[in-house]
Amino acid sequence: MDYSMEDTQNSAPDALEASKLSTTAQRSDTQSVTKRLQAELMQLMLSPSPGISAFPDADGNLLSWTATIIGPTETPYEGLTLKLSFAFPNNYPYSPPTVLFKTPIYHPNFDFSGRICLDILKDKWSAVYNVQSVLLSLQSLLGEPNNASPLNAQAAELWDSDQEEFKRHVLARHRDLDEE
């Protein structure tokens, strides 16, 4: 793994921190988390947004979901199917979910292990954000990377200098995941 490429302050997901919080917060709070996640799921099914979808994993654990973003038109990701995993902490929605790209992706704000640099998934998280708003943010990030704080500096540079070459990198890196 190439750690020197990372912005160490913004890089890694907060899974460990979240799980640590949850041990102190436990009680029967899972009920509240479950209720909230069910409400989100219902909302996603009743009023889906174009190009995004999400569903709890088949294992019956409501705390882990798989989501899909279809690459928006007029971006280098057009038509690509991008899969993500959501891991919700026990104190969700007071801590953000840990979101990772499962599909290999070449993008200034995502690293090669699929980690995401997005402020609303870190210190700017608020309890009214949700699966849908996170997916919409990521979808727009595909077309408008935040090159001010890149996780993948080479991609950031290439995005600015050579869009054609950038797209070649995207396609070279992309690999469709098998349906689980």
Partner: protein
């Protein structure tokens, strides 16, 4: 960067893990029980003079405080807790019902700025649950607010209520941008998204004002901040966030740079008892009077003022109507009414102790009318309560904690102003030759 490259990937990974799991080591519960403010004074005993003087004075005017955990939510938590605590202290279930209704109508704010119900309902439900708990605590005759302390120490419930208050505040601000934008260095929308909505972002002054305006003021509660800093002066600097508190209930915050706690003024019970004038007269064998700490015998016949019964205000029976039983006292001890000036911290009185006005609280004694009948027997204590007025510091049932420190006692060893007098010699108490 060259240094970092010198580390192996394994080491980097280990450091990254450590860094990810790092949490500032903040000890203690989210909300503590009431603690003596004296411990704040002790913290600053060896600090800057301004701080030690202010904290010593604070320990007298506000003998108790409640510590909020410094986890980034302390200001929000202090106001939310103070709100529920004040509501509980009023012990009026109907009023809580009105608050439940008011909070229901506040949901409009959330809707108007586009929050969807399925996302915020867990927060509004948590708040409503706390209202319900408060009503049952009142109806069940709960002695103190410990159920609230417990509720706020449940991290999930606590987060939900704080999130609810945060969302109401940011929605209120978004709907009233003209009131706040001028005070912000960034666009209001961005300010709300980065400084108000995210859990664990500390409240700042604009946010606090908006919280008071949008959420608290509708309850009729005042909010006062007492600033403890190094500025000139011998007392903490008070600041009223709400111009008026019709119900008389006030939430008091102690602010030290970067942190909020809750403060409780000298005597929450002072207004539950009839106001009596200590300097005026002690009429009789007032049995509630705690003689223990007094350095002299309370001989009621000696202390009675002969013309007292000629005073029409006493003849009326109940000269003052008792205030509603509000826990936080309605008037701030810092308000500049003449009555309050003399109650201010004794620490302020180094030099001009003798110049303290001798009478100010009571209605002036009317000139003695013709010849009042000489008092031959002590007036019996009326069932309306004792007819003396103690200053708020004296009224404490437990006098040992808020000892008489004003005029009648200015020579008393309990007057802490003496601590600053180099010539002061304390009286030595000899247990055996007392009386």
């Amino acid at each position: 960067m060259s240094n970092m490259n010198a580390l192996s990937a394994d080491e980097m990974e280990r450091f990254q893990k450590l860094s990810n799991t790092y949490e500032p080591d903040v000890q203690g519960p989210l909300v503590s029980r009431k603690e003596p403010t004296q411990s704040v004074a002790l913290e600053y005993a060896n600090a800057d003079h301004a701080l030690s003087a202010k904290t010593n004075a604070l320990a007298i005017t506000h003998p108790e405080y409640r510590i909020m955990k410094g986890d980034g939510n302390c200001g929000w938590r202090a106001v939310a807790f103070g709100y529920f605590e004040t509501l509980f202290a009023l012990r009026d279930p109907m009023r809580i019902q009105r608050e439940i209704t008011r909070f229901k109508s506040l949901e409009m704010l959330l809707k108007q700025v586009g929050h969807s119900e399925h996302l915020y309902e867990i927060f509004t439900e948590a708040t409503e649950d706390l209202f319900t708990q408060t009503i049952s605590a009142i109806q069940g005759g709960a002695g103190d607010e410990s159920f609230l302390v417990d509720a706020f120490n449940n991290e999930f419930a606590s987060s939900a209520v704080i999130t609810h208050f945060r969302l109401l505040t940011s929605s209120w601000m978004r709907l009233n941008p003209h009131r706040y934008q001028a005070f912000l260095s960034l666009p209001l929308e961005q300010y709300c998204a980065s400084q108000i909505d995210p859990l664990k972002t500390e409240i700042d002054e604009v946010g606090l004002q908006a919280l008071v305006d949008g959420v608290i003021e509708g309850a009729g509660f005042g909010v006062e901040i007492l600033y403890l800093d190094r500025s000139e002066g011998d007392a903490v600097t008070p600041h009223q966030l709400s111009p008026h508190s019709p119900s008389g209930a006030t939430i008091r915050l102690l602010y030290r740079p970067g942190h909020y706690d809750l403060l409780y003024p000298a005597d929450p019970n002072v207004n539950m008892e009839p106001i009596v004038n200590y300097q005026y007269a002690m009429t009789s064998d007032y049995s509630n009077w705690n003689e223990g700490p007094l350095g002299f015998d309370v001989d009621s016949s000696l202390m009675a003022i002969p013309n007292l019964m000629a005073d029409p205000s006493f003849a009326m029976g109940t000269p003052m109507s008792p205030m509603p039983s509000v826990s936080p006292t309605p008037t701030s001890p810092f308000r500049m009414s003449p009555q309050q000036e003399m109650y201010q911290s004794p620490m302020q009185t180094h030099a001009p102790i003798p110049s303290i006005p001798v009478s100010s609280p009571p209605p002036p004694i009317p000139p003695p009318s013709a010849a009042p009948p000489p008092m031959t027997t002590l007036p019996s204590r009326s069932s309306d309560g004792p007819q003396i007025r103690l200053n708020p510091l004296v009224m404490k049932p437990n006098l040992s904690r808020s000892l008489p420190v004003t005029t009648p006692f200015k020579n008393s060893p309990y007057n802490q102003a003496h601590f600053q007098n180099s010539d002061f010699e304390p009286i030595h108490w000899e247990p055996h030759d007392r009386r």
